[in-house]
């Protein structure tokens, strides 16, 4: 249906498009959605395991930041990381708009918002690279370094995969692999990208605010 004067939610717009006509696709989509949500849950637990390790090590350390070579390690610089976080959260917002535009069949706007998302994602990764270069701790030198680099590294790896994934999605969307009613890949990409944001909220709190 063409865009209505009253705003209709993307979900209803799409649901109206295929559920009656193509129940097999509807079911396939639900199956993939369940599978993808379960995948995100297991990924969440992976992060939780390392977060548990960090909390355990930090709580049982006699002093934090720990002392290495006779000197106490410095706290992390919250302001730079806060800026980088805004970049990442911003990319979550842009991804949301990208998907909404796709649902409303606005391919051009979709492309713009998707590119914005990818750019902001790369920006975040560059920010992390900068953070790694200025931070005065090593991976192997202390439990602070161990937890910080392992957790943010795992997260950064997820962001990197996400950037690649979104790029591939953009290429496929423009090749016509996805239609106005069949675009599960875009939904999965959006969910994954939001997941990466949520994990970062936790990590930012754990390393920069706590």
């Amino acid at each position: 249906m063409a865009a209505a004067a009253v705003h209709v939610s993307g979900h209803d717009v799409v649901a109206a498009r295929y559920s009656d006509v193509d129940p097999v696709y509807a079911e396939t989509r639900s199956i993939r959605l369940v599978g993808f949500m379960l995948f995100l849950i297991s990924d969440c637990i992976l992060f939780s395991a390392f977060i548990f390790a960090y909390i355990y090590l930090r709580s049982s350390a006699p002093i934090w930041p720990p002392i290495v070579d006779g000197h106490q390690l410095p706290w992390f610089d919250t302001s730079f990381a806060a800026m980088n976080s805004i970049v990442l959260f911003g990319s979550g917002v842009t991804m949301h708009f990208a998907l909404e535009n796709w649902k409303h069949l606005n391919k051009q706007k979709f492309n713009r918002w998707l590119i914005a998302t990818i750019v902001l994602g790369i920006g975040f990764l560059l920010g992390q690279a900068h953070e790694y270069s200025v931070v005065n701790i090593t991976w192997a030198g202390s439990t602070m370094g161990a937890s910080f680099f392992t957790l943010t590294g795992l997260h950064g790896f997820h962001v990197f995969i996400g950037v690649c994934y979104l790029t591939i999605l953009g290429i496929q969307a423009n090749r016509g692999v996805y239609t106005g009613s069949k675009y599960f890949g875009l939904i999965a990409g959006t969910l994954y990208w939001h997941f990466v944001d949520v994990i970062w909220v936790a990590l930012f709190f754990l390393f920069y605010l706590w």
Partner: protein, 574 residues
């Protein structure tokens, strides 16, 4: 006009669409997407590795026939028991009970054409041989030495072998997680129309509970061995006390997975027992809802008891209490199941097929192992028993006498469906008695040896033989009986191979069982069901007609095989 939700099943002709069959040897047998073929692949891989890991166990047993160590150095012995445990846990048990059984049976039992993500299923299988190569290649560098648990700091002395061990476990963990995710989605989303949760076969409930644990717990193991790998290769100090790390942290991360892992071993076996006992007693499983509910309760509780493996190991004292209480608690749903199965036997009409013999043996040995688990749940008693052969006895009773026995029951039960032939009942019966007697002879003395003072993972036991002069006799006794178990497995392999050509033709329902897999051809066509059946009742009412519509075949509700048995006096095998 809000459309119907995606769970609508009204348009049957769309579901009955069958894809064209795969072509070519590679698509059919190597990189197959068919859950049945993948099940076979897991089965043969698991069985092959079981033979290797079992041989390592026999070497361990031979070593212990002499308190000074009969056949090898301490280093070699340490490598043997470590490889035995590691391979058995991750490359044998989990692939066999989840990968082989779950894959072959579960989609058939829910009336599906395949699992939710067949390509993911194929990848999940192929990861297992890769992990096996990684693990066995570690032996070129001496192999792991610190047991299947490989605690740091001592495991860090394993060098390259230790890093390879971590890589192997991390790799196989990916397979488990993906399989769990796949099975959960399949069971939630792809059951045949009319199969509500309370009309599912109990093996499907078991597969669901197992998949939940697989999916949620394995990633914690990946984190633990991942961190250990980082310490091996990059010296990242998660577990190094000199730089603020903690060896106890590894234990927490490792056991958070490894306790649910033991329930991953056993719950599919519970599912098999439910199917087998019901079928061969010709009556409904007693307490269906409680058995289903208790499987889920065990799956959830399994995440809360891990530190009972760590009572003497560095836990804060106050932490021991909740873990002790929860470990006792998890015994209740397990006990309910045992009692329900025994009650299922009452008033039945019992056929002593090979599968049923294993199920009956299971009830005896698993109960015994479960009770010794209750002993260990108590912190004070565990402080004595931890690290001794009492623990080895406990877990072999529940794993070999529970999980493996359940799997040994599953093989003759579903082999006819998978191959179209019955296995030899005579060989099966002999194999059962060898296994049952061998198991008890091998592991029973370990209980008192352990409590008397014999630790586990001891390459030699001269100190203990001085204090306890019978020690050598009992160890030799155990070694002797272990060969009965080995013979049983050898016989099993022979039976599996021999019966493909020489077994009696099975027909579609030799056991007169009532779950959906018994309504289609043996072996099933690649598409399983020509038309997806409709389910209108629960599966275990043997006095009723089969509760399905649109099934491929009309099936008699009593065993064709029973007609053969009836010609002989009661209790005889084939």
């Amino acid at each position: 006009m809000h459309a119907a939700t995606s769970t609508t099943h009204e348009v049957h002709d769309v579901h009955d669409h069958i894809h064209p069959p795969p072509e070519g040897f590679v698509r059919k047998y190597v990189f197959s997407l068919d859950h049945k073929v993948i099940g076979f692949q897991y089965f043969f891989t698991g069985l092959l590795i079981m033979l290797i890991a079992g041989s390592f166990a026999e070497l361990v047993r031979l070593q212990l026939t002499d308190p000074k160590g009969a056949i090898m150095s301490n280093t070699a012995y340490n490598e043997m028991f470590s490889m035995h445990g590691t391979a058995m846990v991750w490359l044998v048990l989990i692939p066999l009970v989840t990968g082989a059984l779950g894959n072959f049976v579960m989609p058939l039992q829910i009336g599906a054409r395949d699992v939710a993500f067949p390509w993911l299923n194929m990848v999940s299988f192929w990861i297992v041989p890769i992990a096996a190569i990684l693990l066995f290649s570690s032996m070129l560098w001496g192999g792991p030495h610190a047991g299947w648990t490989e605690y740091p700091p001592v495991s860090l002395l394993d060098g390259t072998a230790g890093a390879l061990w971590c890589a192997a476990i991390f790799t196989v963990g990916i397979s488990s997680t993906m399989t769990g995710l796949n099975f959960m989605t399949t069971i939630i989303m792809m059951r045949a129309p009319g199969m509500t949760w309370t009309r599912m076969p109990l093996f499907v409930w078991a597969t669901f509970a197992t998949a939940l644990m697989n999916m949620m717990a394995t990633v914690a193991l990946s984190a633990a061995v991942g961190a250990l790998f980082l310490q091996h290769v990059f010296h990242v100090p998660f577990f190094d006390p000199a730089r603020g790390g903690s060896p106890v942290l590894y234990e927490h991360m490792f056991w958070f997975y490894s306790h649910p892992a033991v329930y991953i071993f056993i719950i599919p076996a519970f599912g098999v027992i439910s199917e087998v006992i019901s079928t061969f007693a010709r009556k409904p499983i007693f307490g269906y809802k409680m058995i289903a509910f208790s499987s889920m309760a065990i799956a959830i509780l399994s995440f809360t008891v891990w530190a009972h493996h760590m009572f003497p190991s560095g836990l804060a004292p106050w932490l021991q209490l909740p873990f002790m209480i929860l470990t006792y608690a998890i015994g209740i749903p397990t006990g309910i199941k045992i009692f329900s199965w025994v009650a299922t036997l009452w008033g039945g009409r019992i056929y002593f097929s090979t599968a049923m013999l294993y199920a009956l043996g299971f009830l005896i040995t698993f109960t015994f192992g479960g009770i010794t688990g209750i002993f260990l749940a108590s912190v004070p008693v565990d402080l004595h028993a931890h690290g001794t052969t009492f623990i080895v006895a406990h877990f072999h009773y529940v794993v070999a006498g529970g999980s493996l026995m359940g799997f040994l029951a599953a093989i003759p039960y579903w082999y006819p469906k998978a191959t179209g032939r019955l296995m030899s009942e005579r060989l099966g019966h002999i194999g059962f008695w060898l296994f049952f007697i061998g198991l008890n002879g091998t592991f029973m003395p370990m209980h008192w040896l352990g409590l008397e003072g014999m630790p586990r993972r001891y390459a030699t036991y001269e100190y203990f033989a001085k204090a306890f002069p019978d020690a050598q006799f009992w160890n030799q006794f155990e070694t002797g009986f272990s060969f009965l178990m080995a013979a049983s497995i050898g016989l099993l392999v022979f039976n599996v191979v021999w019966s493909i050509k020489h077994g009696k033709v099975a027909g579609i329902n030799p056991w007169g069982a009532r779950t959906l897999e018994w309504t289609i051809d043996s072996p099933p066509p690649y598409y399983n069901f020509k038309k997806i059946p409709d389910v209108f009742d629960r599966p275990y009412d043997f006095d009723q007609p089969m509760p399905y519509r649109n099934t491929d075949n009309v099936v008699a509700p009593y065993p064709e095989y029973g007609a053969v048995v009836m010609a002989q006096p009661a209790g005889a095998g084939a």
